[in-house]
Amino acid sequence: MKNLKKTLALVAALAMSATALYGCGEDSSSSSKKDSSSVADSSSKDASSSESESSSESKAAAEVPELKDDGDKLTILCWNADDSQPMVDLFCEKKGYKPDQIEIKNFKVQGGQAAEQYTAYLDEATNDADLMFLEADWCLQFINDDTQTAPVESLGFKEDDFSALYPYVLEIGKSTTTGALKGVSWQSAAGGYCYREDLAEKFLGVKSPEEMQAKVADWDKFEATAKELSDKTEGKTALSATLGGVWQVYSGSRPTAWVDEDNKLVVDDYCSDYAEYAKTLWTNNYVTHVAQWTDEWKPLGQSDDVMGYFVSTWGFGDTILGAAAGGEGGKTFGMWKCVTGPTNFYWGGTWFAPAARCDNKTMAKEFIEFFTTNEDTAEAYALSKGEYMSNKNVMEKIIKDKSYKGAPVLGGQNQFEVLNEVAQGIDMTGKITPYDSVIKTEFSNAVQEYAEGTYATAEEALEAFKANVAGKITELNWD
């Protein structure tokens, strides 16, 4: 009797603690249930993924690690299913795979938080991963880490295979330490300047996108046009919605990398030039004082206070411009036109990279091919999703065939023609560092503060910028 009571109490206590902990283990337990066989396979045969020690060995040994091909499921890591689900659906449909042969490991977080989720997930050596979706801002964190990602060569690609892709897309997918191509993107996020046709005609006498482009062809002309517009409207209408938008574009014109070979932050004339430029735009109300991604940002598009937005491939729908115009049937819907603007720029984008523990080499290769080098399937995806692909042949074919009519918010113009031009002109060679995201944010903050009057001179603002970066990145060379 006594023993029975004891056992009962123990069982009850264990049951309680087990249920309490249940929630925490849910993710891994459900995934391991699904691909338990593949885990068993990989742990017994796959040396490269089993232990972190061996993967650090492979880092030292060979540049192109051998990947396994015996996993039964292609596991894709991503942070939402907006892209991955339609991609997998189309891939399965065209290639004859069953949907259950691909597992989308969706972390359901914002892009910015995905990096930490991935790291935690990959820390567990038995967790399966074949392909990883990486966001532009932090993709280098994984691409530079040979224990996490593998070069595309290890899947059987040669670099020439991707010659049809826009060069900047490949540039970003390269490791900055070894130079190996590890990530490719199926999309291109090139952007242009979108303006209100009616306001441009009324105040600037502009009748076509070509004429408009001539007025914003470089940053001096952009400022002159902003002045002209401001004078005509008594300071009511701004040429660009936000200073942040201008920075997004201006940052594309930086001629050098932010960090030089000596691992030092480069603060040069470019920085002071932009600080002064931004101050001019801000104090003269050539931009509104609204910030990007605030609640007031998009509704500006329906007032006459703003003539233009800088928009990238993904921003023609509800993300930016469509919503700014008030949605389908909105006040200014269909009254916008797109031009290449002062500088070629890209804004974000998602890359996929093979995981170092990939055990579905063939399928991973097919998947990447399907959306990048295979022009037929890439075109099919572009048309089904309205996506701007990274393969320029595909995009040129779509433009030539007129199979895509352009975003409805542009009222008949096909933005792809403009963006194709921009995407080819983006040159990122040698300008990428793993710190870009932090540095650019701090720089734009410092310039914003300078424009608002927190700092008296541009030099002070740049000193503050330098100190702020120093406060964030300790591993740079700070004398």
Binding site: A13, A115, G244, A291, W478
Partner: protein, 338 residues
Amino acid sequence: MRSSAQNKIRSISYAKYGYMFILPFFIIYFIFQLFPLFNTFKLSLYGNGDAATNTFVGLQNFSDLITGDGNISVVAQHKNVIRVFQNTIILWFGNFIPQLALSLLLAVWFTDINLKIKGKTFFKIVMYLPNIVTAASVAALFLMLFSKTKYGPINSLLMDLGMEKPIDFVRDKWNSRFVIMFAQTWMWFGNTMIMLMAAIMGISPSLFEAADIDGANSRQVFTRITVPLLRPMVIYVMITSMIGGLQMWDIPYLYKEGTTYNRNTETIAVYIYNHFHNVPHNYGYSAAASVILFFVTAILGSICFIMNVDKDAVARKKQIKEAKKQMKMQRKSSFGGF
């Protein structure tokens, strides 16, 4: 000699089962609280940046943060920490003092038998409501109301009333702090009020009645009866609010424009968060800042506690002790004198 039956009875200890039932709490506590706590201490002794995360650096992070003796990066760390501590203290004082004053006043009013306030329950609920709303929503609400451009509700109202330029409530140093203090006060005064009311209602009504009969006015009642007897609750409110205030994160973090953050409202917790999630991860500095925060909280908490110890009670205890001692001595000496 005990019988065997007696022995058996003694050996049945029910406490054991009790321990088993509270075991789950401790397991969870160890995994999710105690382990991270120790891990933070450990991390604070390791390096920063992705390359140096596993390098042991001893107390370097602490000396960097506290003295700022080194290159521009170290100086920046030091300045940042000083700045965020200042911000935190300003924001805490700015919300705690009006909050305590307001809730004390309301608590006294609501518990006063002579004041016949109608709809007490209604007001109590309404005043407590802001506390139910998540901080995230509160931040979003205030951000929307106090938008700094002419399109924001408050600004457009002020401009309709004749103001010329919109006021920058979001990025300006003191305006943004003021809005955050106000939001914090608005969120928490109901909660503090309920706690103080509970304490006031715990005071024996006979004291108030006696004061009434003796002809004390309401100010005297407040300063001589309510406040002294409220002391334990005020200590409690102060300590909890201080811990919460030092760890203030949500509203300061979310009350910012778009994606740019405001240096003047960055609290320690926001600093820790930002450095932890920075892309070259600064685990060392954020952990060291957490440890400093831990000690600061502990020290301030103890000071609060010591300051509020009832001195009369301590003195009385001492007296009793003294008296006992004397009695003993007396008894001894009287024995000796026999």
